[in-house]
């Protein structure tokens, strides 16, 4: 993704930007790619369903120590 290949991919998606903005934009892409690589690497079961954890049951948590 940090290579200019992302420019073509963006264009295919209908997203274009001036050539003079390429360097600045590439900095963001490089940073985001690093973050995305990090989350891809975590070892989670294929069957694990991502869930919204903010449900009222959370309030039932009590201090046990």
């Amino acid at each position: 993704m940090p290579t200019p290949g992302f420019v073509q991919r963006m264009a295919e998606l209908g997203l274009n930007f001036p050539a003079e903005e390429l360097d600045a934009f590439e900095s963001f892409v490089t940073d985001l790619e690093r973050a995305a690589s990090f989350v891809r690497k975590i070892d989670r079961s294929f069957a694990e369903e991502p869930s919204n954890v903010f449900d009222p049951a959370s309030v039932a948590l009590t201090r046990t120590a």
Partner: protein, 470 residues
């Protein structure tokens, strides 16, 4: 008596109810200050003096007739300009919404109006509460009231600056990665990110649906508690809203921390390369909390970067989904900073979003398990504010943030003033608590503020108008 524009919401309420202060008189004081001084601070993108005076006259009339709508009756407040207001322009600081006049109030504004509040205007923010500070958007960014050459952080920039400068008694901001707490920290005031689902987001322009929170900022924690008493509560119009009873947050303000166990994630301070000055300020604050009755223990959590990476992958995906049509059809209407950030979202893969959500679940489970052993977590909210200048493009997503973890996990977190750095800019303390236990967070913040002298100090711009130099 203290200058009227420096009164807390608690004091205003007492003076109104003893007929020692008039809502119209106080509102005129704030409006005069905004008109005379806000060209320096740029904390308002749209003052609304006619609306404010109408609200103030209504409050005054109702007090005269014995009608009491609660702690915000007659209290002048303002709103971050992503909070929609019926009949009043709401731009999100974006040229895209330059002419946007909503038909309805956001729920948080409806509650403040129903509570008799006085709306002074709309506060400067970053474009769509995300990309900033920027100079190529609808309006320029706000300045820091303690030093106008410095930034007030973001994205509730103008909101925090206005309160610190004595332009309003309280304000409403939003927080997706720290956007209430970091401006509160930079401006030396109190700002609360409530638990996810506690305060309605209906009618607030979205940044990242799954991490957006709405909450109050004010000079003191006690005032934040009073505002929470008005704005918190279930709203069926917000899909993330939670239907749980809302306590009277002021009853928790005992003035001590007896029986509380406070955890300190020291590794986060190392990871964020915390300055010696900020570390010293935090150790002094921990000493105050111990003296107030708390036990302080070290704790361990996943690295800050794990929270940030999870949040940013999710946020960029959601931001792109919100703005993709504009990016394709009218990218010229968005500032470069926001445009660069959200265009990146197009490059993320479906598996990245799902995997980031899984990581969020893991991190949230870990955080809630920790809160079985401690009542609160404490750390700085941020370093003192830097110069007001464009954010460098490189390294944006590798900056360590002490505020983002609580957007990832949804826990409530408060920023309060922790003293002042050698350059005169505020230091800040962040206090986080269990889900839906804002009361304990506010209790500790209020006790700390009342045990320290920081609430007695104001920036020069907060001086009375008659003593201001040109």
């Amino acid at each position: 008596m203290i200058d009227k524009h420096l009164l807390t919401i608690a004091a205003i309420g007492r003076l109104y109810r003893s007929r020692a202060l008039s809502p119209v008189e106080l509102t005129k004081t704030y409006l005069a200050r905004i008109e005379a001084l806000d060209d320096k601070l740029v904390s308002f993108v749209l003052p609304t003096p006619e609306r404010a005076l109408a609200d103030a006259r209504r409050a005054e009339d109702e007090f005269t007739r014995g009608i009491d709508r609660g702690p915000m009756q007659g209290v002048p407040y303002c709103l971050k300009d992503i909070v929609e207001t019926a009949g009043i322009r709401t731009t999100g600081q974006s040229r895209l919404l330059a002419e946007h006049v909503p038909a309805e109030d956001a729920t948080v504004e409806s509650r403040l109006r129903a509570g008799g509040g006085v709306m002074l205007g709309k506060n400067t923010t970053w474009e769509f509460a995300h990309g900033g500070p920027s100079w190529d958007v609808f309006a320029p960014p706000a300045h820091n009231p303690w030093n106008l050459d410095h930034h007030p952080a973001g994205s509730s920039s103008g909101s925090a600056a206005a309160v610190a400068a004595g332009f309003a008694a309280g304000t409403i901001g939003s927080d997706t990665g720290g956007s209430i707490r970091q401006p509160a920290a930079a401006c030396g005031i109190a700002g609360l990110k409530p638990t996810y689902g506690r305060v309605s987001r209906k009618g607030v322009l979205p940044n990242c649906f799954s991490h957006d929170h709405v909450g109050p900022l004010a000079w003191t924690t006690e005032d934040v508690a009073l505002m929470m008493n008005v704005v918190a509560g279930h709203d069926p119009g917000d899909p993330g809203s939670v239907d749980l009873p809302v306590p009277d947050y002021t009853t928790a303000l005992s003035g001590d921390c007896k029986g509380l166990t406070i955890g300190v994630p020291y590794a986060w301070l190392d990871e964020a390369k915390t300055s010696a000055e900020t570390r010293d300020a935090m150790e002094a604050a921990l000493g105050v909390l111990r003296a107030l009755g708390a036990a302080v223990v070290p704790v361990t959590l996943s690295p800050l970067l794990a929270y940030s990476d999870s949040k940013r992958v999710i946020a960029m995906s959601e931001l792109f989904s919100i703005h993709q049509k504009t990016l394709r059809e009218r990218p010229d209407l968005l500032g470069a900073s926001l445009r660069y950030r959200i265009q990146c979202g197009a490059l993320l893969r479906a598996e990245d979003y799902v995997q980031a959500m899984r990581m969020r679940t893991k991190l949230t489970t870990e955080m809630q398990a920790l809160f079985r052993t401690v009542d609160l977590l404490v750390m700085p909210s941020g370093e003192p504010a830097g110069k007001l200048e464009p954010t460098p493009h490189a390294g944006l997503f590798t900056q360590s943030s002490w505020t983002t973890p609580f957007n990832t996990t949804g826990n409530p977190a408060l920023s309060i003033c922790m003293g002042f750095a050698a350059n005169g800019l505020p230091q800040s303390l962040q206090i986080a608590g269990r889900l839906f236990d804002e009361a304990t967070v506010l209790r500790a913040g209020d006790a700390y503020e009342k045990a320290t002298p920081w609430r007695d100090r104001r920036p020069e711009i907060a001086a009375p108008l008659e003593s201001q130099t040109a």
